[in-house]
Structures are given as C-alpha cells and as structure tokens.
C-alpha cells in the first residue's frame, strides 16, 4: 500500500469565462522514502494538484478524485476538521517564496512553536527545545537567537530553512516541496536540495518535488512525473527518463536543457501551454509537437502501458530503445 495514492484527480476553477480545468485526470503514487519529481512548464497544473491534496485551493476550485488516499485515509471524504489533524502534521508542504510565506508580524520561533503546540500538544518549554533542535537540523546557526528574529531580518535561504524546519517539525510522512529553490540563488539552491534529500534519508519520509528545473530533477529525484496542461503525460524512473523519454514533450524539455545544447542557439519549444480558451480538441500538446499529424489533432490519446512510461501519446518515441533493453 503506497503512502499516497491519487486516482483520477481533477481540479476545475470557476472563472468568469466558464469552467477551467487546471488538473485533468492525474494519477500519482508516492511511497515511503520515495523522491518523486513533478516537472512541467508554468500552467501545467503541478502546484494545483498538490494544493488540492493539501486542501489549500481557494473556494472557486472544485476538486474531484476517485481516490485521494494518504496513509490509509481518504482525504476527499474527510471533514475539514479531521483533515486539519493530518495536514501540517503527517502531510506538510513548503512553498516557492520563502520571504512571503512567513507571517511578517510574528517571530519565526512563534511560527514554528505554534504547529508543535497545536499538533503535538507540547508545552512552551518542550516546543522551544524542539524548535532549537529543528533549527540545528536544518542548519541555522545560533538557533536561540534566530528563533527570536522576524522573517524580514533573515535572508531568503534562511527563511526557506525556517519553512523546512516548520514543515518537518511534526515528523511528516510526506513532504511536498513546491519549487523550493526557484526564488533562491544557485549556491543556496544546492544547499536546500541537499538538506531536503538528507532529511528524507534520515526520517524516511516521502518527498514530492515540484520543479521546472530538469537539473534539479536529475540530481535529486528517483521518479519523474511530467505534466503538461493539467495532464500527466509521462512517468518514469529518473535514469530511463533522461536516457529514453517516450513523450515528445519530455523529449523537447530535455532538449531545451542548456547542458545538452549543441548549437549556438538554445533549442526551445515554440508556443505556450494552452489556456482556458485555446485547448486543442485532440492531444493537448499537438499544436507544439513536431511529430503531430491529423490523428493527433483530432483524437485525444490515452496513457500507454508502464513499459512506455504511461506516455499520453499516439506515437511514443524511443520504442526501439525499449526493445534493445
């Protein structure tokens, strides 16, 4: 039984121009100790699907799923009150912008102790001791002093460490990191990623890493789930994915990596992710796909078998590679 099991997760937003489907029939599984990376361009529904899992979407969003099972509990069938006992304790999340994700009016120490007191019922002294311990764990020097600081008195990297300390404070079983390094500079990025992986090793928690940085994926993830326009278009373990991507979108993403560029000009994927009003009739990637034909433009593809990385494509790539191996 996997730690997290999502089946047929869809999220629709009620907008003035009608309903917009931001997440479309996504299936995901995460096990204990697993590192799953979710990649895709902006607007591909990576964050929204995880926010839906956490129950953090605004009231305009309608979440539907056949199964949304975390640690044996079906979250979609729980009351808000029961769900709050799990969210923030066993299921934690950190966000993209550490500077704005912490409340400017309270010290970071207060914000960490708050979760400990609410979920674990610790008293003031125990919470303080645990907070010091957590700061040491995430590598914040001089924890007693730093706990008294306000978020604006610390750097972005330090704030992200605070966010991580806060998220792991109750020993979560699954940590979702939503582009945790996007707002940070490169040296700090590596430190934060190392920290996340180290914490995963030490605690055995599952880790979901949402990112659009393929470099980050290659260094940290075990499995990769590629999303496009709300759909999961491919899922593979990290090595085979980099060696033999089956979906043309994955292949195009990899080709756009600067490290892989052979030409003077960096290869790009022309066009943008379709929005609310220009969703194609057939395959969602067909307008931007170099292999698309009339069949692709007319008939939406269904996911292929696991041997083809569940690719949502009529003409998956690298099929002979599969034969060779």
């Amino acid at each position: 039984m996997s730690l997290l099991r999502l089946r047929n997760l869809s999220v629709e937003f009620a907008t003035t121009g009608g309903r917009f489907r931001a997440v479309d029939q996504v299936d995901l599984d995460v096990d204990k100790g697993d590192v799953l990376a979710i990649v895709g361009e902006s607007g591909s529904g990576k964050s929204v699907s995880m926010l839906a899992l956490m129950g953090l979407l605004p009231w305009t969003a309608k979440v539907t799923a056949d199964e949304m099972v975390f640690d044996g509990h079906d979250l979609s069938k729980m009351s808000a009150r029961a769900r709050r006992k799990i969210v923030g304790k066993d299921l934690a999340m950190i966000f993209q912008e550490p500077m704005s994700s912490l409340n400017p009016c309270f010290t970071v120490g207060f914000q960490i102790r708050e979760a400990l007191r609410i979920h674990l019922g610790m008293d003031r002294r125990a919470a303080q001791a645990r907070a010091v311990e957590l700061f040491e764990l995430v590598g914040i020097p001089d924890p007693e002093q730093r706990l008294k600081a306000f978020p604006h008195q610390m750097s972005g990297g330090m704030n992200q460490r605070v966010m991580i300390a806060m998220a792991i404070s109750c020993n979560p079983k699954l940590l979702i990191a939503d582009e945790p390094t996007t707002a940070l500079d490169v040296t700090i990025q590596a430190q934060i990623l190392d920290l996340l992986v180290r914490l995963r090793d030490e605690t055995g928690m599952g880790l979901v890493l949402i990112t659009h940085d393929m470099g980050v994926v290659a260094e940290t993830a075990q499995r990769v789930s590629v999303h496009y326009a709300g759909q999961k278009v491919e899922e593979q373990p990290v090595r085979p994915l980099f060696r033999a991507p089956h979906h043309p979108y994955t292949s195009a993403l990899l080709a756009a990596l600067p490290e892989r560029a052979t030409d003077k000009r960096l290869p790009t994927i022309p066009g943008v992710v379709p929005g609310q009003f220009d969703r194609p009739k057939g395959c969602l990637f067909s307008p931007r796909c170099q292999f698309a034909d009339d069949h692709c433009r007319e008939v939406p593809p269904t996911p292929r078998g696991a041997d083809l990385g569940l690719a949502r494509c009529h003409y998956p790539l690298n099929t002979d590679e599969r034969l060779a191996s």
Binding site: G88, A92, S100, H152
Partner: protein, 335 residues
Amino acid sequence: MLRYMLSRFATFLPTFIGVTLISFAFIRVLPGDPIIVMAGERGMTQERYDELVTQFGFDRPILSQYWDYLTGVLQGDLGNSYVTKRPVWDEFFALFPATLELSICAMIFAVALGLPAGVIAAMNRGKFFDRTLMSTALVGYSMPIFWWALLLIIVFSGNLGWTPVSGRIDLLYYFPDTTGFMLIDSLLSGQDGAFTSAVRHLILPTIVLGTIPLAVIARQTRSAMLEVLGEDYIRTARAKGLPPGRINGMHALRNALIPVITVIGLSVGTLLAGAILTETIFSWPGIGKWMVDSIFRRDYPVVQGGLLLIAVMVMVVNLTVDLLYGLINPKIRKR
C-alpha cells in the same frame, strides 16, 4: 525610532500655524459683528461701539491682529471669551471631559462592533451575512447624523420611553465634578441610581456618534482582511493545519490592522466634527455645543481657540497612530 518621531514632529509646526491662520480667517469671513451681537436688541450708542472696537483691536490692520493672536497662542494664551470674559483655555477644559467621555464611548462602540463585523464579513465573503452587513454599513455611513439622531430619539425616547432625550444625567442627582467624567463621578458620588442614569443618558449619543466610524471600520476591516487572506503566509498557516479561527483572528487580523488603525485615527477627526452635531441635538454640555454657541455669538477667541485645540488633538492622535504601526508590524519599525 527617535529620528522617525522627530521627523513626524517637524510636520507638526506648519500644520499648527496653518490651523491658526485658517481658524482666524474663517470666523472673520462670517458676516456679523461680535459687538452688535453682544449688545443684543437694545443696541448701543456710537461712542460705546467705537470704544469697544478699540478695546478689541478691530480698528487695527488684520495682519497685526493675527500677529497678536499668533504670538499669544505660542505663549499659551488663547485669549478670553468676549461673552463670559473667562480664558478660553479654562472654558475648554471645563467642558472637554464631557466630549471626551462621549467620544471614547462612541469609539469603543465603533471598534467593538466594527472590527468583528469586518472579520466575519471577510470570512463569509459574498454570502448573505457579508452582503447584509456591507449594505447596512453603507447606509450607516451615508446617513445624515442629525436625522439619525432624531429618528432614534423619536423611537427610543418618544415611543418606547427607554432612554432620556437629552443631557448627561437626571436632574435628581447632584454631585461635584471630580473628574468631569459623568460615569466616574456618578460612581464616586455613591448616590443610588446615579450611575445607571448616566449610562442611560450616554446610550443614544454614543450610538449616533459611533455610527459613521462603525461603518468605516467595518468596511475597512473587511477589505483589509480580504487582501491579507490572499497572502502566501495565510496559505502557510493553512498548510500547518491551524484552525480557521486562529488563522483569521491572529495571522490575518494582525496584518490587516494597519489600515484599520489608520481609519480609526482618521475617525477621531470625524468624531469631533460629529460631536458638534450630536452634542447640539442631545444638549450634551461638551465642546461641540460650546463651539456652536460661540459661532452664533461671533465669539472670535473661543471659536479660534476651540478649533485650534481640536486640530491639535487630531494631530496628536494621528501621530500616535504612526507610532502604533511599528508596534503592530515590526517590519515598519525597522525602516
């Protein structure tokens, strides 16, 4: 912090001078002659009139009159009332506690109802409670204060007979002014029913005076809360699994308080302006009524002095508000 305070004080002086200039000019622009008003229906001889003109200094150029007034003010002398001959300063402080008592009660009324109302409206955005509350607040804000006062008097004092029509306390009770605050004095006097009587007299004026600030505070709290509720740190608080009461009442409200405190500060000005009408309607013996009476008597020093003191109070309140920002949001303290 000290530098910040000094820079705030530096803006104080020009405003102060400006207020003296405006109050001095406005009362003189009004048609009517204080000496003729003083003489009443009997009139007076030309010689006596000329004598008084010289005595009050009205024969001198306007600028030199202003200069005399300004130098007096800067030395703490607001002049004497033409009518009672007593110093403006003394009259003001004899009447001020009555206004202060009423204003404080009105402000407590407005904040105690407006803040929770705004928070609840924001939490129920777009629902029935929100819409009802916000349209009621708009009505309250737009209602002419004197008309609202008369309506309340007709219903609660006239038809229902629950509250007295005017004054601060029943004539039955008499006790000396110890603090000038009727609620405190009536308690100190130890007379049976005095305190209840004082409270009953306060109810309607408090509601009338507090209505506009209440509406403004409720609407401002709602919009500030809605803005804050969209912030990333509120998402973090929800991701921590905190109960909604704690998220709204602590994480969001503390951040939403800055604009709310600003309007509370600005409401003090509205409150004192409203006090003039409210006190007149309820015959409340405070500075509002005193100012109106003085305007009709063309009592120049009283009007000038009263305006100036009110303006200074508003300025002090706003200065306090500026300093409060830093207490609420540590980020502002640093700048």
